[in-house]
Symmetry: C2
Subunit: 130 residues, 2 copies
DNA sequence: GACAAATGATACTAATATGGTATCATTAAT
DNA sequence: ATTAATGATACCATATTAGTATCATTTGTC
């Protein structure tokens, strides 16, 4: 059971690094400083660019920089980008027709746990990690 | 992100069914009542038997019954059986040598969330689901 | 004792998610 | 022109999850 997957983790580390270092950072620098695999890191940064969390610059002297201030980058948002909808309580019964849909005690309990997790996740920003 | 996997889910449903129905229940009955795949359900029940949560009886008229009262079967225990150690906060950095081990802000925050999840999970028993 | 109905044990397979790599195209500074 | 960067995209490897298949064993019933 993982709350955070590797790509989310690398994304967060990269964002932390960029936010506390100089303006523009290349993939190569991140690879060296964070010890993460290059092409994978690159793909991750490209996704962050597409989602307008990073700005990218091509060509010599290019790289990535933050497009949003660290205070406004939420961990849960990054999780959603790399892990899709964050939900703990999906039902497994065939055809999605659970015999006691709506009344399922387990689902209810997990929903409560989920809400708490969200409440806490929503308070974590990149700024709060640096 | 799944808190509970399918085998855990089926195990919980089976335990709930057994605990609120007659003494001894066969795999076949569970398959019909719960709409889950037979051989898979069987494997799950065998594991619960090995872990002494169910008792099993071979031969005609055999099946499974609870070995522990529903009040004493904890969801988190079932999760551990099928999903291993329940932990949200493992670190991904190569070689497990995180440069800022111990000081990692993300890890700390996730640990707090994890503790809360545990606290809530630990209160859920089969009895509380029935 | 033969048979049927149940689980025990174990090996195998299929599907999905995760964690990447590889490659070619594009851009921009020197 | 060359070089150093990202953009886009296709592909591959591994692990996890979700099962199936099969043979052995036990036990009640006729």
């Amino acid at each position: 059971m993982k709350l955070i997957t590797r790509n989310t983790d690398y994304a967060l580390r990269a964002l932390c690094y960029i936010s506390k270092n100089k303006d523009i950072v290349t993939v190569d620098e991140l690879v060296k400083k964070l010890g993460v695999p290059g092409p994978f890191m690159r793909k991750i940064l490209q996704q962050l660019n597409k989602r307008s969390i990073l700005d990218s610059f091509k060509g010599q002297g290019g790289g990535f920089k933050l497009k949003v201030t660290p205070e406004n980058i939420y961990v849960i948002e990054i999780m959603r980008i790399f892990q899709g909808k964050v939900a703990l309580n999906r039902c497994f019964l065939k055809k999605d027709v659970c015999p006691n849909k709506g009344k399922c005690a387990l689902r209810k309990k997990i929903s409560i746990i989920e809400e708490n997790v969200f409440k806490q996740l929503k308070e974590i920003t990149i700024a709060s990690l640096v």
